[in-house]
Symmetry: C2
Subunit: 395 residues, 2 copies
Amino acid sequence: MIAKKMQEMVKNSSAIRAMFEEGTKMASMYGEDKVYDFSLGNPNVCAPPSVKQALLELVTTEDPKILHGYSNSNSGDPYVRDTVANSLNRRFGTTFRGKNIIMTVGAAGGLNVILKTIVDPHDEVIVFCPYFGEYRSYISNFEGVLVEVNADTKTFQPNISEFEKKITAKTKAVIINTPNNPTGVVYGEPVIVKITEILKQKQAEFGTEIYLISDEPYREIVYDGLEVPYLTKFYENTVVAYSYSKSLSLPGERIGYLVVPDEVSQSELVLAAANVANRILGFVNAPSLLQKVVARCIDEKTDLAYYDRNRHTLYEGLTGCGFECVKPEGAFYLFMKSPVPDEKAFCEHAKKYHILMVPGSSFSCPGYVRIAYCVSYETIVRSLPEFKKLAEEYF
Amino acid sequence: MIAKKMQEMVKNSSAIRAMFEEGTKMASMYGEDKVYDFSLGNPNVCAPPSVKQALLELVTTEDPKILHGYSNSNSGDPYVRDTVANSLNRRFGTTFRGKNIIMTVGAAGGLNVILKTIVDPHDEVIVFCPYFGEYRSYISNFEGVLVEVNADTKTFQPNISEFEKKITAKTKAVIINTPNNPTGVVYGEPVIVKITEILKQKQAEFGTEIYLISDEPYREIVYDGLEVPYLTKFYENTVVAYSYSKSLSLPGERIGYLVVPDEVSQSELVLAAANVANRILGFVNAPSLLQKVVARCIDEKTDLAYYDRNRHTLYEGLTGCGFECVKPEGAFYLFMKSPVPDEKAFCEHAKKYHILMVPGSSFSCPGYVRIAYCVSYETIVRSLPEFKKLAEEYF
């Protein structure tokens, strides 16, 4: 009765829901403090106080007709778009104007908008394993063909030689996600230069435009003073999808933006089409009150030190009891090698110790598990003895 | 470079944008009080004071991690869903539970979610002319085929005999919109009974399920104490798409819901699929703060008297100078007969008097124009002498 395409998706999603429900059930059975749920990327750090301040001020002082009204255009409030552009220019030396910014319903909304804008049926979209599993659905929404580049499981940096081979005349876009979900690695400038040089060559070779889509909800969450290169400076056909879900801890509010620089081929047309896509996909415009809130909190940052303490404590704890993983440099995920090849069995077994993790297969990288450490510090501290018991069963 | 499907859409949307920009330009040239922009459905009535109160209370008292966090499920906050279900049950004698409600990014989001859930490529979706033009894009998003039932321009009630003929074995859904945009008419119970009887017969005849999708952002905006029948009581396979855009004057906040009653065939599967669709289309969940706001304002209503005064003043004024139109019973639109067959030329000509209206062709009903009277009362009063001058050129 439901659409054929949805039938398979419902089956897959039941697995995720089952895990979520298991977490809730375990918490009610054993107590919340005895369940170590590392399955969700829901930030445990509060939104900065300035968000509250901005909300109170806006609600108290602004005309509700304008505050809660449709945005002047489907791409968002002009002042908000200018504010975002100026902030990016200050921080990254770019030269965006408001017109290059499209406010979106989070990065998920933004990715769907840009894919709707550029992807024809059968166009290929390249992703690097491991990757956020939702990309499969987003690409499928527009009848695109997902092309995977296998993981380099030593470093979890992009496998450049395989990437080069996977680009064809049908490649319409490449999605990269750095800092990365689920590995926490950051792609440094040399890697970005390699990727973009290859893209330039391939565009020339095939006479096509290949869009580099940078999905960067974790841009502000990096440790040890690492720099995350701003991709529009390396490659003209770059589109950025950003979200305030993590940087301002507003995941439920669905607020983010797309950047389409003037350097993108036929930039005006892409912007006009993305404006239409934002409307006809049913978003209409990014939530209006929250657009104005993020503009007022444009220079705010989340409490990085909190995540960093989690990162160190968890990484030291896990490697100390024998587990292997690349040390995360950003985001709030740690991608740990499963001690047995069947990581789903490992995840099942870990539930004995009330530990919930996501199998790497969900990210097209079996043999690994994702641990989301955006939980409370206490959860991490309390989980470590349980991880130790778990390790002792394998090592 | 952009997707082929988007190229045509960008062209069409440029016309709408051009009109919007013309309105802005005219306002800056002649002064806002000398431009009569009836083109947009952006409410001129403020959100009720309880919305402000709810926002202030929530922001002041709730834990920001929960207030702004992801909803427990993609279908929304359980308390909010229960509140919506209970409110509907109180008002319409239904028996919904929270699980029948999916909070969505407005009705536009909800319509896309339910269409994604049920429409396979080449499935037919029936709409009654004149209709909200965005249905074309929503249906096209999922490769559905739009089937139009021509308007009965005497009453603007559904053309029942043509409707019956247009239903085929490929009909997957029928969208109805009452109170109607653009005509303002309300479908009474006898009409609903006829439509749903035909659907029951056709389901039996073809051995198919045909979903009746009720798009009802204007449900609360009815005049003269008229009743808008609640469609789930007439037909089992009914899905309701609702929005708070008009009823609480929150169009920019993108908050609404879908109702999928237990009586819908394979209701559990439809709900599960709609939950997935909400996620993978990029909505993820309806904006979290606003979900909680509408739950607190569940029994609030917009200032109907304001719109009603506009309705009377405009209707009397227009008919008084010779224009013809069906008197609107709901929503805040008036669908006026163009004095010449080419209503686009008429709209162009009306700009001489700084009057902006939308050609009926946008709603697949040429020869008519839509006047959105959700403007200020003063705009209506000031526009009438200009309408009179306009009329004198034709009658």
